[in-house]
Symmetry: C2
Subunit: 309 residues, 2 copies
């Protein structure tokens, strides 16, 4: 059985198991959609518009669901204090009790599932689930080239700057960030998970190669013989809550691939001694330390890697 077949098989098995579990704890007379809605409203309440986008519901449908829940005395829907058009749903006391019930039934059915396992087996299970989730999250991230003034990228770079300001003992001047429109020859990659930006990185030409195709764009690089341009990789950043999934590695190698296809033979990058994980990443990815080549005061360390097909 190949990998794909193994994954399909696991999916079949797992959904079946989960189906049994869910039927058990949700099958208490309440329709699934109402239960989900109770979950989403949660203890703090939520605006209808917010609920609609989060759950992907039709506005008419949500309205009816809420009506049903409020007829049952579980939810109250009140006008937004600041905006008379929008409304806010909150759980009533009974609704909160119902939600607690749902949660505890869910917990109970999971506990019953885990009961026959030893402590060691349970933590193995949890560990394996965690690993799967990391890998699936990583797989769900898409990388796409964007302009250097793309608002999402500027947002990432702002976060990047703020983080460096906190981590560098000497602080960080945001003016060091690439200014919009100044990329020149190069590519900015933006990483998105379900549309939400979770990382970025860019490469930028330092000195053109001898082959003629370098500056003429996407289609030229691969065909133009030995790649010989030199580029710099900059602003490689992964959002804090998306770290540990191998996304930095993926961004880095995507940048390398892209640079290579544009006739770049060597990439360099500068970094700071206080960025330990980044340095470890570069070393693991085959970068070798070189004398610092950059005038930026933050780039106290420099690395280089020769790109090969």
């Amino acid at each position: 059985m190949d990998q794909i077949e193994l994954v399909r098989d696991f999916n079949r098995y797992y959904t079946q198991r989960l189906g049994v579990l869910n039927d058990h704890y949700l099958g208490q007379g309440r329709p699934l959609s109402e239960a989900r809605l109770l979950f989403e409203i949660g203890g703090a309440g939520a605006g209808l518009r917010d609920l609609r986008t989060r759950m992907g519901l039709d506005s008419g449908y949500l309205s009816r669901l809420l009506r049903s829940l409020s007829d049952q005395g579980l939810v109250s829907v009140d006008p937004h204090p600041g905006d008379g058009r929008s409304r806010i749903a909150t759980l009533t006391r009974a609704g909160r009790r119902e939600l607690d019930d749902l949660n505890s039934r869910s917990r109970d059915s999971i506990a019953a599932l885990l009961e026959p396992l030893t402590e060691a087996q349970r933590s193995k299970l949890v560990g394996a689930q965690e690993q799967i989730r990391r890998l699936l999250r990583l797989a769900a991230v898409t990388l796409s080239p964007v302009a250097d003034d793309d608002p999402s990228v500027r947002g990432c770079l702002t976060s990047y700057g703020k983080e460096l300001a906190l981590r560098f003992p000497e602080g960080y001047d945001p003016a060091t960030l690439i200014a919009p429109g100044t990329l020149g020859t190069g590519t900015v990659l933006l990483a998105r998970e379900e549309g939400v930006p979770v990382g970025c990185g860019l490469w930028q030409l330092l000195s053109p190669g001898v082959s003629s195709g370098v500056a003429s764009g996407v289609s030229s690089g691969v065909a133009s013989g030995a790649a010989s341009g030199v580029a710099e990789i900059r602003h490689l950043w992964v959002a804090a809550d998306a770290r540990g999934y191998g996304l930095g590695r993926r961004l880095l190698s995507a940048l390398e691939q892209d640079a290579l296809s544009h006739g770049i033979g060597v990439v360099r990058l500068g970094t700071h001694p206080s960025l330990g994980e980044a340095i470890a990443l570069y070393r693991a990815a085959g970068y070798r330390e070189i004398p610092s080549y950059d005038s930026s005061p933050y780039n106290q360390l420099a690395f280089e890697k020769a790109l090969v097909l």
Copy 2:
């Protein structure tokens, strides 16, 4: 977040991911129930009664689903040659093509999911899924005490005997198996997965202890002070397709617990040098080798363990 919450969280994430996947490959105009039915009928065809029990469908509903599929030319439903009441569904040529399409769409969507991962990450994913499946299968097994003439147990013991006959160089005489009705003081445990027998084991009193409660049944043991009877564990067996999940370990410790609660302080067991996994299991479970105590020619090795609460 505790283990239960982590498992719930994973379940939520995974079902959501799978939902997206399934929508993608099944959402080709065909209702889910029809697609499932095509899967279940499969290349070989299936009897309606069989389909109903396997899929848990109402007979009227199944009838209508099949009608719809046969109207679409995907399935033909023909009378059973031997029994005029029952009927058999088989895929037509077009139905087989449709099923192949479904399968390849499913494969494609899994392949697209895996595409961003490196080979190492993919095999990690598959490995973690395999581990989860093992643990869930183990957790799904229920152990229950049964009589020594229970048909399921006799079936297990027959398989056990056949296996030993193959593995022992000297063969194995099935007459060595415990005869129905001869257990005496002791317990037979049967392991079932979804109702299907997957293993068994028993303990049997060798010599009673000094405390008075030993022979008087379930309620006596725990309260009767220090456990001091001696029992033998026999016929511990796990079906071939349920091995590697830790089920042997679970059966063994359930037998120990049960024996302890009946006033047994020491358990012994005999085994054969060619049963390497079993010997490793006993050692790992805290058994120490002792001189062979048994007249059975197969029990060339013997182990013992003192039971403690």
